[in-house]
């Protein structure tokens, strides 16, 4: 096996004048022109007006971000491969970079891609009932908000190992991916070879968060090498590549104007949303998923009748925007929740009261909101009141606004919905080239009475090995210890588009339920025969199969079918003891989890540092399959949300150079920065999914920036300062305090 290192562009925007391979190393260095017949990663979309970008695995004659691959170098180990990168000569003719949304949408700016009329991947607009609201609203608040570019940082970065299996005549690609079946499709398209000769196997991936649900140039390049050289090659992403070339996300800008009555009842919302999309569209989720989600989810959990929203997806000279846990919703939650607090301030009420005034109520469920989101079930106000109780809001308000150290204290709330397991029609509406349909799973009773469960989805640390086994157990009552779950390998699992969009438990869990139910029925039929009983008299109990007091074991059933079929009658079900089940919920619009978060913070007005004193969450993801795993998902997501709120930022300078290329400059929250999240659960089963399950993978990450910044702003009320940009770094907090002070001075 040989190691691959990529030579990456040191400049944000340039044409490549010349590339030269070092003498004697011509066979170890690969440029775009070497990859004959390989197609660029191209994400088509059926949305009118969407512009396509061609994203070649190795740059052709132009680079569009710092970190874009210019050459692929191969050697016996990574260090040697990097040595070769050092001596590849590349001459760049630099072009003006587009480093932010404002520059990217300026009139007359040269588009980043050939054949584009302007520099936007997409422009969308939505308008309903706004004009009449504007005329009659008594209160209007305006906000300008922004969220910084972030990088995802799973514990393990991306990695690809590809080799040629001579016996099978197959290209085997081990990839750290959430979506092995999709990657097979994508690789086959780019390489121009049949899917049947590609096998994609995902090992333990060490976290994904969305970075690993798209086809990456590195996957295409390494797979191409293995296919053409019929040999083994490996690339392991390092942290610098991850930071500067890989998992970029989150960067939004908002201009909002909200209209309300004197009680703070939200009457209408106008929004301009700009997404800093980077240089290329990722496959298959496109550069437009973010804006589509932003526009659709901005109204949040509120009863809102009038809404006008324009979005632009701007091409910039930065790494492509990837769908990070929560996709757009951490941004829109931040936006709408700060708006709610601003309305509360304008009408002189507590923010939680105004929130309560506006939340969709349980009696209105199911509720179709202004953007046609179908909120299937739940009691949103109850979750808000629960976190208000948990955080002890009344005590906080009774106590002084400053602590013994002089720090300012504040409390903040946020409530959100998490659309999960959205299905076929939703993805089709977003125009994506690959739309999920039914998820499949395969269940088989082994001759010794154990159960094998195979699903095409992949585990990325969310515990699917446990929870899918629980579902299979629910149907068959085979002890959990005897259930083995296999995931994420195109060679031995049925098709699933994979793990993303908080869909695993609903979709794959549903498929496992269907398949296990079929197998359970056949187990019962064979057991009935062995027990000389009627089939409807058969019961699963205590790890055995009973008819009255007589019983057989699962092994007896397995042995009968596989090893002693002479004991079975001729009319036995020929499907045997294995079945593939397919599932999607009754509705394609997704099932909506929701939660309220509340944060209590202390802000040091001299240093700008924030301490989280308490953080509480009340969440409802329908039926809890495994409460410990739901807690884990919630805590992990909330930890990332704290990063979004207070720490994580990947800034770029005016030349498009990333300023955070190591973890010294890119701050991740560590254990000492995180509070002990206190969680309570509500359990409102969805009427529209099997077992009433809703997804919960993303939710924790959505609300913290909103709750924490609302808390910071509450704390800063005596100083009249407000934070409108995240992360709420010490510099931003001190600047906000200084601005408020000088505004006060000017007024005086």
């Amino acid at each position: 096996m040989r190691d691959v290192a990529f030579l990456r562009s040191p400049v944000a925007h340039a044409t490549i004048r010349e590339r030269k391979k070092p003498a004697g190393l011509e066979d170890s260095v690969f440029f775009n022109e070497d990859m004959t017949g390989v197609l660029p990663i191209t994400t088509r979309s059926s949305i009118p007006g969407y512009k396509v970008s061609d994203y070649p695995a190795i740059a052709a004659d132009r680079v569009r971000f710092v970190g874009e691959i210019v050459a692929m170098c191969v050697a016996a180990n990574r260090a040697r491969a990097e040595d070769i990168c050092d001596i590849v000569e590349v001459q760049y003719q630099e072009l003006d970079p587009i480093v932010n949304c404002a520059a990217g949408r300026a009139p007359g700016v040269a588009p980043l891609h050939e054949g584009w009329a302007d520099n936007l991947f997409l422009r969308t607009s939505f308008d309903q009932n706004m004009d009449e609201v504007i005329a009659k609203a008594t209160v209007a608040v305006e906000l300008e908000l922004s969220t910084s570019r972030q990088v995802m940082h799973p514990m393990e970065g991306k990695g690809v190992l590809a080799w040629w299996d001579y016996r099978a005549g197959q290209l085997v690609v081990h990839s750290s991916t959430q979506v092995p079946h999709m990657i097979r499709i994508g690789l086959a398209e780019c390489l121009g070879i049949p899917q049947a000769i590609i096998r994609v196997a995902a090992p333990d991936v060490g976290g994904g968060f969305g970075y690993k649900c798209m086809l990456t140039p590195e996957e295409v390049a390494v797979a191409w090498l293995a296919y053409t050289k019929q040999s083994a090659f490996r690339w392991i992403e390092d942290r610098r590549e991850h930071l500067t070339a890989g998992a970029n996300a989150r960067q939004h800008e908002y201009k909002l104007k909200a209209y309300a009555d004197e009680r703070g009842k939200l009457l209408g919302l106008e929004a301009d949303v700009a997404v800093d999309c980077g240089a290329y569209s990722v496959w298959p989720f496109s550069a437009c998923l973010e804006a589509a989600q932003a526009g659709g989810n901005l109204p949040g959990p509120y009863d809102l009748q009038a809404y006008r929203c324009r979005t632009v997806s701007v091409a910039t000279n930065k790494p492509p925007f990837a769908p990070y846990r929560g996709v757009a919703r951490p941004g829109v939650c931040f936006a709408i929740e700060l708006t709610i607090d601003a309305i509360a301030k304008a009408v002189g009420r507590e923010a939680w009261e105004v929130r309560l005034e506006n939340l969709v109520v349980a009696s209105a469920m199911p509720y179709t909101n202004v953007t046609k989101k179908f909120y299937d079930s739940g009691d949103y106000p109850a979750s808000l009141l629960e976190v208000k109780r948990m955080i002890d809001f009344d005590r906080i308000r009774r106590e002084p606004r400053r602590d013994a150290r002089g720090r300012y204290l504040g409390v903040g709330f946020a409530t959100y919905t998490e659309q999960s397991a959205h299905g076929t029609k939703v993805f089709a509406q977003w125009g994506l080239p690959l739309v999920p349909g039914f998820d499949q799973a395969h269940v088989k009773l082994t001759p010794d009475g154990a159960l094998e469960v195979k699903a095409g989805i992949h585990t990325i640390g969310q515990g699917l090995e446990t929870t899918l086994a629980q579902i299979a157990h629910e149907q068959t009552r085979i002890p959990l210890k005897d259930i083995r779950v296999t995931l994420g390998d195109t060679a031995n699992t049925p098709f699933s588009t994979g793990a993303y969009a908080s869909r695993g438990m609903v979709m794959s869990g549903g498929a496992v339920s269907v398949a296990a139910e079929i197998v359970a029925g056949r187990i019962k039929a064979i057991a009935a025969h062995l027990l000389q009983a009627r089939r409807d008299a058969i019961r699963f109990r205590d790890g055995r199969i009973f008819a009255g007091e007589a019983s057989v074991s699962y092994e007896d059933v397995g042995r009968a079918w596989y090893m002693r079929p002479d004991q079975l009658p001729d009319e036995v079900d020929r499907g045997g003891l294995e079945a593939t089940g397919a599932y999607k919920p009754q509705i394609d619009t997704g099932v909506f989890s929701y939660a309220s978060h509340a944060a209590y913070v202390a802000v040091d007005s001299e240093t700008g540092l924030v301490e989280i004193l308490d953080y509480v969450i009340c969440e409802d993801c329908g039926t809890l399959v495994n409460p410990m795993i739901v807690d884990g998902q919630t805590i992990g997501g909330a930890a990332q949300g704290v990063g979004t709120a207070l720490f994580e930022e990947s800034p770029y300078d005016e030349n498009g150079q990333p300023l955070a290329s190591t973890l010294i400059d890119y701050l991740l929250p560590g254990p000492t920065e995180l509070p002990r999240f206190r969680i309570t659960h509500m359990e409102t089963p969805s009427p529209y999914s099997v077992h009433g399950i809703k997804g919960v993978g993303e939710g924790g990450a959505i609300a913290p920036s909103a709750a924490l910044v609302n808390a910071i702003n509450d704390a800063l009320t005596p100083l009249n300062a407000t934070i409108r940009q995240i992360p709420a770094s010490p510099e931003r907090i001190l600047a906000a305090i200084a601005a408020a002070r000088s505004a006060l001075d000017n007024a005086a």
Binding site: D83, D86, L609, L667, E731, L734
Partner: protein, 278 residues
């Protein structure tokens, strides 16, 4: 992120190490704990041809003291100072500072001399040694040089240590039982390099009154006027002088940064004030 090729040697004594460094064609670099140099090698920001690992040289692992001063060898790790493996004559200042450096994993390998030689203005030891009035001891083949810690830094990431020299020890004044110190740093998160450092040390018995603002763009800033007020009128009055003195000395620095330095220094003074009240 793998280093460019280099040779590695582990000299047995200082003479051998200095001889290796003196070879001008060798492009050799001293290596101790590797907590800064290691990442720089991996990022290929440093490309020495040879690493001279001084961790196993016995002369650099000595602590000795007389009635007025004490020496600590350069290759003691932060963790050894934190844990008291190295004897302490600073009334607990050095162990306290050590405990706040990066993370335990870094402290287990990083050395006090290595941190100083790396010359990052945000590093704790640089401010601590300057504040206490230490002397940095450098050895070359020609012999020993001694540089006041306050003048050790030439600029960010450049120090007095020549390419053929080794930072062998730090000599510090021995603090009396009457000594009081305050050390405060502003960090966004545990283990991060400080945005601002404030150090106050007073030891009336040996006439030591020093106040320092650290993690600037270069050498730490000694606040002489504030220190004089500290000596004559106490920490609370000194605290009132800090802003003016920092603003005057660092007028070119952006106000937000100055603010953080002022806060750090004032809080180090506040610590003295609290100690005196107690």
């Amino acid at each position: 992120m793998k280093p460019a090729p280099f040779d590695y040697v582990r000299p047995r004594d200082l003479q051998e190490a200095l001889a290796l460094l003196a070879d001008e064609n060798a492009n050799a670099k001293v290596f101790a704990g590797g907590q800064s140099l290691g990442p720089m090698l991996n990022l290929r920001l440093a490309r020495p041809s040879k690493l001279v690992d001084i961790r196993h040289i016995p002369d650099l692992r000595v602590v000795r003291a007389d009635s007025r001063s004490w020496w600590i060898g350069a290759t003691f790790t932060h963790a050894e100072i934190e844990d008291g493996v190295a004897d302490d004559f600073s009334c607990g200042l050095l162990p306290f500072v050590a405990r706040g450096i990066a993370y335990r994993a870094v402290r287990n390998r990083g050395t006090v001399g290595g941190s100083l030689a790396h010359a990052d203005p945000a590093a704790d030891w640089l401010s601590t040694m300057a504040a206490v009035g230490a002397t940095i001891v450098l050895r070359g083949q020609a012999g020993e040089r001694r540089v006041p810690a306050q003048q050790f830094l030439l600029g960010a990431f450049t120090s007095e240590v020549g390419s053929a020299e080794i930072l062998t020890a730090i000599e510090l004044p021995r603090l009396s039982a009457m000594a009081r110190w305050g050390y405060y740093k502003v960090c966004r998160k545990t283990g991060e390099f400080a945005k601002a450092i404030g150090v106050t040390i007073q030891d009336p018995q040996i006439g030591l009154f020093r106040i320092l603002a650290g993690s600037t763009e270069g050498r730490p800033l000694m606040l002489a006027r504030s220190a004089e007020i500290l000596a004559n009128r106490g920490p609370d009055r000194a605290a009132r002088e800090v802003r003016d003195e920092i603003d005057a000395a660092l007028s070119h620095v952006e106000p937000g940064r100055r603010q953080q330095l002022v806060v750090a220094v004032r809080r180090s003074l506040q610590k003295i004030s609290l100690l005196e009240a107690a």
